[in-house]
Symmetry: C2
Subunit: 218 residues, 2 copies
DNA sequence: GTCTATATAACGATAGAC
DNA sequence: GTCTATCGTTATATAGAC
């Protein structure tokens, strides 16, 4: 026995990370004070430094947790038989998270911090690549199943799927009245048009294409 | 005559803004000190506050300038006859800027700041909407010219074009070896596949690239 | 208008009792 | 392990000479 009850220690660490994530999302890394984190977590300023050596370590801890969740999502997607549906499932799950204003703010904050902190950048890069690599496998499966244009490079496609999920981030911040469901619907349509195989001859059965959006005036 | 030489005053203001933009991009808003800005601009700490009331005003000034440049870009694009080419021109110009690491860092920084500063958010929102509205007009023109699927809503398309330009931002930060030309090429292909009109009956002359008209086959 | 010098405030991290 | 109290540092913005 090194110290008392490692499970409790870990639970409290988690609680601090959760409280801190909210603070960082709302006020940003620099403007969040350690005192605020402690208040949100229900501890005193001295205690924080029992669990983390400094403020930055708290911030980094949040994104270590995030990597685990991504891995779990990809594992779940691997269980879906239809590779096309698996891709859409991953995209939808990640998007739904990022379309929440608080999550979007945190992502923007970590992106800004990554450009100045090499260690943090490596961590986030690892998370990002895990998602991209997982999607690459799913894309390959979908290409083999004839669901995606074989002329597209799987890795490039996966990179752009990740980018597409990030695409509405600034709009989430600037346009608070954004409708997440509508955004997700358009994104799915965009992805479908981007990826679908091209048939050399046969026209579509019903002669139409559109499932979303309106006929534009004029 | 209120004070001496307003032109020189304006020129110095610009010089300070340029110097400050580099500082903010590299270190972020909070970690950039006013002393650093003054050093980069070649003035002393007292002088800065002759031109701007406080640090935040310097930051805001940068993005007021940016709005003017967007307006100029849209005006230039309006002169291009082919509406499809006009759209690609705008997308390419804005993308090329954002694919530069320093510019990308500044954009991420302002996005993060917008989520906490309503005034700044309104300013950036105005710039964003100007770009989106300008693109909406170009899209409408391209629809009328038969270059874009008429089943797509012009405003929605324009919003997503703006989002697509922002999409690779985090990758620019995380993957320093990114090739801007390759990124732009894929983006153009993605946009073309997203927007191109569906041919209900006749296959194209070369027998390739006909849409199936379904989101997910099967 | 531009400079040097500084007032004032705030924050991260630590010390040390319990 | 958790608390209170506080130290040392750093930065914005101002004051006032020139």
């Amino acid at each position: 026995m090194r110290t008392v009850d490692p499970a409790k220690h870990e639970a409290k660490r988690r609680a601090i990370l959760d409280a801190a994530a909210g603070c960082f999302a709302m006020k940003g890394f620099e403007k969040t004070t350690t005192a605020e984190i402690c208040r949100a977590a229900g501890i005193s300023t001295g205690s924080l430094f029992h669990y983390f050596p400094n403020k930055r370590a708290v911030f980094v801890g949040i994104f270590e947790q995030d990597g685990d969740e991504t891995a779990a999502l990809l594992a779940a997607a691997g269980e879906i038989e239809d590779p096309w549906e698996a891709i859409l499932h991953v995209v939808a799950q990640v998007s739904e998270q990022l379309l929440q204003p608080l999550a979007a703010k945190l992502v923007l904050e970590v992106a800004a911090q990554c450009s100045r902190d090499a260690d943090l950048a490596r961590l986030v890069q690892g998370n990002d690549r895990a998602l991209r690599d997982g999607l690459t496998d799913l894309v390959k499966g979908a290409v083999e199943a004839g669901r995606i244009d074989p002329g597209l490079d799987s890795k490039t496609v996966a990179s752009w799927l990740v980018a597409l999920v990030d695409a509405p981030l600034s709009r989430v911040i600037l346009e608070p009245d954004l409708d997440p469901k509508a955004e997700l619907a358009v994104m799915k349509e965009l992805i479908a048009r981007f990826l679908r195989p091209v048939l050399p001859i046969s026209p579509p059965a019903d002669g139409r294409l559109v499932d979303t959006g309106e006929i534009s005036p004029g």
